[in-house]
């Protein structure tokens, strides 16, 4: 980052207001009274006073001059303070998320004119009031050093003037010579952009619009086209479903709109009065959703149609042709039939016939109108790849004179488009960075970042979300809307002090929605939805069944999936999502070929082997990882990697993973039968944050079955280790506040949003792949993931295996110890049981123990306890003996092994001026050699207390919350004052499910976990606990 770039530090510098300019020139805001001194006529014979004056002044002057040795930083205080900007006080603007194109309501936290964090908009209850990791980390795209500084032509080194640029573009567009112009956009959800394109078409009649999405859900849209005459993705409401059956749909992690689905799903997962939803997951890879299912059964995704058919049959009272272990299909069918109208069946397949079956099943179960809403349907990601394929073939034939890519990056995710697009003479892109499409373009019209622009989005029919600028444009960008209009000859000058984009957006609002624009923008969203209706079903299940039965099975299959966090890869240049470990595999920074244990054993493959994978004539070399729970004969590779970032990127984001979009091919087929896989190397070391996956039968996570819980609310949590006797009476925290947290293991899905939210709130540094390989990730909050393996029904169950306490394993028991696993594998000489895995997620952060072992051992009192029960870290007192870290039973303390800021070895946002703008000013950026850890967001605690004090009132109940709790989509984390009887936390602390982790060592933590309840028929095995 060359320091010649000047970033405005305050509105005035930006607007170059007059008195700013003048004041900037003078060294002092007000002049010094020098004239007074010198105009003194008898100054020639200076008397003592004068002498002292001069002496004093010259001394001061010299001192000041000496000060200039330090590098000059343009930190100019507000000369004229802008309204409602108070230094040190954050402002919150309602806006829309930028990570998922369709839009998601949120609040942007702005400090001194800089957006520093996204926070969920709790008022938009329909969306659930949570954010995921990607949504959080996408803010960094605003402070991306690779952002374009202005409009560029191919081959340009430096930006051009907009006027010249526009001239060229217009001439180019006018000289298409009868050929047509294509505008490629993401699935169109922005009213403003729609309008702009419409206006553009009035000038250029020969314009076609093409919708493109990297991830296709065309299976659903086509099926719905057939079934209901609407090529749309319906809106799902998992909160209305008591029985959920998912065929390979990772709806909690990556499928369609997981942020919303999670919070809906979680509503039924907490067993209030013994009722909670039942969730079947039939899938091949080990997905986040599968990890949370009550019954998860491994299956081959290529045979999903047959299973759907089987379920369909079972629901119709026929014997299913094909069955899964323990007659799961039949079971699911029974449960579904008992919950007609209160259930939901979803399928991750992108095949029309599969989805048609799903539709007919849901119709049969009467889920339309309750859990499925096709009236106020979802509007995002519903592009059909055929539309784009048509565009490609036409482009090949040279039908286009020009193409305009607006806010999409097809040349990354669609290999077929590349040489076709090259045939189009004029290729215009509106983008904020030089992405794969921009680099292939003749003209790049630098766009405004979403956080710099106005917008009206419509994620669901009838639900509008408003985006407003939260920062003045950082670079010479221009809204793509304005650009389009400019090329269409429209007048895009600012009017009455407002930008063109604002005026245009306002007009669109007036014409299409109407009402109080300012009110709408302030609230952030408007909902005027229609009543749910049960659509008329015109689909034919049997056709689909016929089509499905004609499929031929292959012995193995490759599944292209999305990773939680990285998703489709459009934000591949924001390090937070890559440092965030995958919720299931705990791998950071890489994508990999995930392999089932039986396959790995059969082929003698090991973690880190380099595999050559050939599918759809595309061949890649990629390291492999053994994934417990994955179905035999299935392989998976995550999409969204292998981005081509600009040369300036030097850190681990460069050449990150392998791009496997080409494998999906033009038909967007994510399940490829008969992939060719061979080992070509070995020795890749994954950067995993957790390498030991069994819980060793320890009483860290407690769980019980729903039945057991119905009988006894303390089920699974009945046994409490004796608290050791204390030699001294404990300190009294009953006065004032006593902060505490509760984490509900039932609603926690492990989505890891909290990790990213915490990292951004607390300026946790990015350390990169190698440091994580050395086991030095800095996350204050981690999510522990443990597997336990179900002993399947099989004849050699009589053999007794020593399982800690000398019990013999029965079918349905869970193996939780590494040794027993090995033993079992060797005894049964099979590793198939690795497919039947039970997963538990446990967020782990500083427990703020009242008897904290870490505090006792610090020689310099750098970590002490506050009277409000916070375990405080005094960074600038810490000398870094690391004794506290060793003595922490929860291993949540993190040490600054290097200087992670201003260090070219860690060239992430902390290393450049632009990236540093996202740093939270309320939290110290830790220096090298000090210990750090979760502080319960003490900065939030303090500001809340101060606000209350300033307003001269008592703090309200749950007036504020910490970053992780605030962002949790499933509301699993609750923070509050344990001394406040009305607070949610003090209620949860009384819950029968509440327990402390390793309570017996007497640390008396301030965090309680709530026992995990699984809605499973068979009694949980207490052995493991």
């Amino acid at each position: 980052m060359n320091s010649s770039n000047k970033y405005w530090k305050g509105i005035d510098e930006l607007q170059e207001s007059q008195d700013f300019v003048t004041s900037n020139v003078n060294e002092f805001a007000e002049g010094l009274p020098l004239e007074k001194i010198f105009s003194n006529d008898d100054s020639t014979r200076a008397n003592r006073r004068d002498f002292l004056k001069y002496f004093g002044f010259s001394l001061g002057a010299v001192t000041l001059a000496a000060c200039n040795k330090t590098p000059v930083q343009n930190a100019i205080p507000y000369i004229v303070k802008p309204d409602n900007v108070t230094p040190g006080v954050p402002l919150y603007y309602a806006s829309s998320s930028i990570s998922n194109g369709e839009g998601f309501p949120l609040l942007v936290k702005v400090r001194e004119g800089r957006p520093i964090k996204f926070e969920p908009n709790k008022e938009a209850t329909y969306f659930g009031g949570g954010l995921d990791g990607l949504a959080h980390s996408s803010i960094l795209s605003l402070y991306d050093t690779n952002r374009l500084r202005g409009p560029m032509k191919a081959g340009d080194k430096s930006p051009q003037k907009w006027a010249d640029f526009d001239k060229e573009v217009v001439t180019a567009l006018n000289n298409v010579g009868g050929k047509s112009i294509a505008i490629v956009t993401p699935t169109n959800t922005s009213l403003v952009l729609d309008q702009a394109i419409a206006d553009f078409k009035t000038k250029y009649a020969n314009t076609e619009t093409v919708a493109y999405e990297p991830i296709s859900y065309s299976g659903i849209t086509r099926a719905n086209q057939k079934a209901f005459g609407k090529a749309v993705i319906p809106a799902y409401d998992f909160s209305k479903a008591e029985v959920i059956v998912s065929f390979g749909a990772d709806f909690l992690g990556t499928w369609i709109s997981p942020m919303k689905f999670q919070s809906d799903y979680a509503k039924n997962r907490v067993p209030k009065d013994g009722k909670m939803s039942k969730h079947y997951q039939f899938e091949s890879l080990m997905s986040l959703t599968g990890a949370n299912a009550d019954s998860r059964l491994p299956m081959k995704m290529s045979k999903v149609g047959n299973y759907l058919e089987a379920l369909y049959a079972a629901l119709n009272g026929n014997k299913p042709k094909i069955e899964l272990a323990g007659n799961a299909i039949q079971q699911a069918a029974n449960d579904l039939l008992n919950a007609k109208g209160r259930s939901l069946v979803v399928c991750g397949s992108n095949d029309e016939n599969d989805q048609m079956l799903v539709n007919s099943i849901n119709i049969m179960l009467g889920n339309y109108g309750s859990a499925i809403d096709i009236t106020n349907h979802y509007k995002g990601q519903s592009a059909d790849e055929n539309e784009f394929n048509a565009f490609v073939s036409k482009a090949k034939s040279g039908a286009y004179g020009a193409v305009i890519f607006v806010g999409c990056n097809p040349l990354y995710s669609s290999a077929s488009a590349l040489e076709a697009v090259a045939k189009i003479p004029t290729r215009i892109t509106t983008a904020i960075t030089m992405d794969e499409t921009a680099t292939q373009s003749t003209h790049v019209a630098t766009d405004l970042h979403p956080l710099e622009s106005w917008d009206i989005k419509q994620p669901y029919a009838g639900r509008y979300i408003f985006a407003q600028p939260t920062i003045s444009p950082v670079f010479e960008g221009r809204a793509s809307v304005s650009s389009l209009l400019a090329w269409a000859g429209g007048d895009i000058a600012d009017k009455d002090g407002f930008t063109h984009q604002y005026n245009y957006t306002k007009n669109v609002f007036a014409s299409q929605i109407g009402g109080d624009f300012n009110a709408a923008v302030e609230k952030g969203f408007i909902e005027n939805v229609l009543a749910l209706t049960v659509p008329s079903f015109s689909g034919n299940a049997n056709e689909s069944i016929a089509a499905i039965s004609s499929r031929k099975a292959a012995d193995n299959e490759l599944i292209l999936y999305q990773k939680v966090g990285v998703r489709d890869g459009s934000f591949g240049n924001t390090p937070w999502v890559h440092e965030m470990p995958d919720p299931v595999s705990k791998v950071t920074w890489d994508n990999y070929l995930s392999v089932s244990m039986p396959d790995a054993k059969a082929n003698k493959w090991e973690d880190g082997d380099i595999m050559k994978v050939t599918a759809n004539t595309v061949t890649v070399e990629i390291p492999m990882l053994i994934q417990p729970g994955q179905a035999k004969g299935t392989y998976g590779i995550a999409l969204g990697y292998g981005r081509e970032l600009p040369e300036t990127v030097k850190n681990d984001l460069k050449d990150l993973g392998v791009n496997v979009y080409p494998m999906a091919g033009t038909s967007a087929n994510y399940v490829i039968a008969g992939a060719k896989i061979e080992k070509v190397g070995s020795g890749h070391e994954f950067a995993q944050t957790q390498t030991h996956y069994s819980i060793e039968g320890r009483d860290i996570v407690r769980e019980a079955s729903l039945n057991a819980y119905k009988n006894d609310k303390k089920a699974g949590n009945s046994f409490h280790k004796p608290q050791p006797i204390s030699l001294w009476s404990s300190h009294d925290y009953s006065k004032g506040h006593h902060w505490g947290m509760s984490i509900d293991l039932n609603s926690c899905t492990g989505c890891s949003a909290c990790i990213v939210s915490c990292s951004i709130e607390n300026n946790v540094p990015i350390v990169g792949r190698d440091e994580i390989r050395r086991r030095r990730e800095m996350h204050w909050l981690r999510i522990d993931r443990y597997y336990s393996f179900e002993v399947p029904e099989s004849k050699d169950l009589e053999m007794s295996i020593v399982n800690g306490g000398d019990q013999s394993l029965q079918a349905g028991d869970y193996i939780t110890q590494e040794k027993v696993m090995e033993e079992y594998s060797s005894v049964t000489n099979s590793s198939d049981y690795y497919q039947n895995v039970k997963v538990i997620h446990q967020p782990m952060l500083c427990q703020h123990c009242d008897n904290a072992p870490c505090e006792t051992v610090c020689p310099v009192l750098a970590t002490t306890h506050s009277s409000e029960g916070l375990n405080q870290m005094t960074y600038n007192r810490c000398i870094g003996t690391k004794y506290c870290g060793n003595n922490c039973p929860y291993k949540v303390r993190r040490f600054n092994w290097f200087r992670y800021n201003e260090n070219e070895k860690f060239d992430y946002h902390f290393a450049n001026d632009l990236g540093k703008m996202v740093i939270n000013p309320d939290v110290t950026v830790r220096s090298r050699g000090v210990m750090e850890k979760c502080s319960f967001c003490v900065q939030r605690v303090q500001s809340a207390k101060l606000t209350a004090k300033r307003e001269n009132r008592k703090m309200e109940t749950d007036e504020f919350t910490v970053a992780c709790a605030q962002t949790c989509p499933s509301n699993a984390i609750v923070f509050g004052d344990m001394n406040d009887p009305n607070s949610e936390i003090s209620k949860l602390y009384k819950d029968e499910r509440a327990y402390h982790v390793i309570e017996e060592i007497g640390t008396r933590p301030s965090i309680k976990y709530l026992t995990k309840i699984r809605n499973k028929q068979e009694s949980t095995n207490q052995k493991a606990h």
Binding site: H692, I695, P853, V857, C858, V860, G880, T881, P889, R928
Partner: protein, 448 residues
Amino acid sequence: MYQAEIRQPLVTGGKTYSDVTEDICRPIENKPTSSWWLGFTIAAICLFVLVGTLAWTVWEGLGTWNVNKSVMWGWDITNFVFWVGIGHAGTLISAILLLFRQKWRMSINRSAEAMTIFAVFCAAIFPLFHMGRVWLAFWALPIPNAFGSLWVNFNSPLLWDVFAISTYLSVSLVFWYLGLIPDIATVRDRATTKARKFWYGFFAMGWNGSAKSWGRYEVVALILAGISTPLVLSVHTIVSMDFATSVIPGWHTTIFPPYFVAGAIFSGFGMVLTLLLIARHVMNYQDYITTEHLEAMTKVILLTGSIVGLAYITEFVIAAYSGYEYEQYAFANRMFGPYAWAYWTMMFCNLVAPQVFWSKWARTTPWFIFIISIVVNIGMWFERFVIIVTSLHRDFLPSSWVMYHASWVEVGIFLGTFGLFFTCFFLFAKFLPVINMSEVKTIIKDKE
């Protein structure tokens, strides 16, 4: 029946007073031998390695070591305890054996004390440089703060370490220097060059060996010995509390203090033997360091080694009996986990190997004793490694279980401390009498 024993003489070869003086002053007054130069050069090179690696650590950050989020102490504290342990034999030999009137100590205590001091130097390096911000190390001292109240934490075993180690170092130094004064005076009065006369005169503090001074001298020596004995025991007790007072399974053990002290004496004597056997060979001190000395020390090694071995077993039995799954796992993991090789090395070196000293031949065969003494040192290093690393790398939550392997920097620092140690030792051997002349002179005539 009572049999008045006739002991073998402690100094053989019928030495007279002047012979003693001649023999022991020779290395000081003559030019250093080629073997001295060789050893000194090697040691100095290692010392450079130490300086280099430490500089790199401070410049780049502790990340240059391979310690990680779970194993935050690795080789550093292992080496610290290792060196402190070695530093125990010296004071112990001089102090406790003086109290017990064990005359065989006299020819070895000087070098043993020197060893103590140099070992504590080496030890002190690690707690210093394992700090993330070593330049702020002085914050661990109870010094007032310019901006109001800010003090150290007297609950912290690390702070106790600060006091214990510094006290131990300074008292040992005083004890050592006090013992040196008469001998320095001897060298002074033999001095032929001006420089030597001045410097030795400077440090002899005008000692003239008057009966009055000797009277007081002996009282002081006795009382110093008296207070050094509990001091020695306290130091390693406190070091062991670094672990014993923590909550980590495998550390949180009440047996640690006695077991660490025994271990310290064990390793200390191991090191003393290693050094003495070299010195004895290089400087031809066979008449002063007789097989009787060696035998006496091997007996101590046999005893302490057995104590340590007993402690290992006790520890394991207690863990097994505790019924506390974490403790049980910690010890099972030591024996059969990924670091089992370290555990079994330790067991062999510390428990099995010393048992050979039941045989008289083993106790009196220098080259064999030398080998065993090396083995003992290796074993004691591994003991500390096992205690620290295997306990940390798998503690309560399996999610944070990790492996730890030292980086080249850590190895370099460890190697470097040997450089420091032997550099000091070679200089000591060159400039100071390695055997306490005045004491030896009192025993040469014990037998007719």
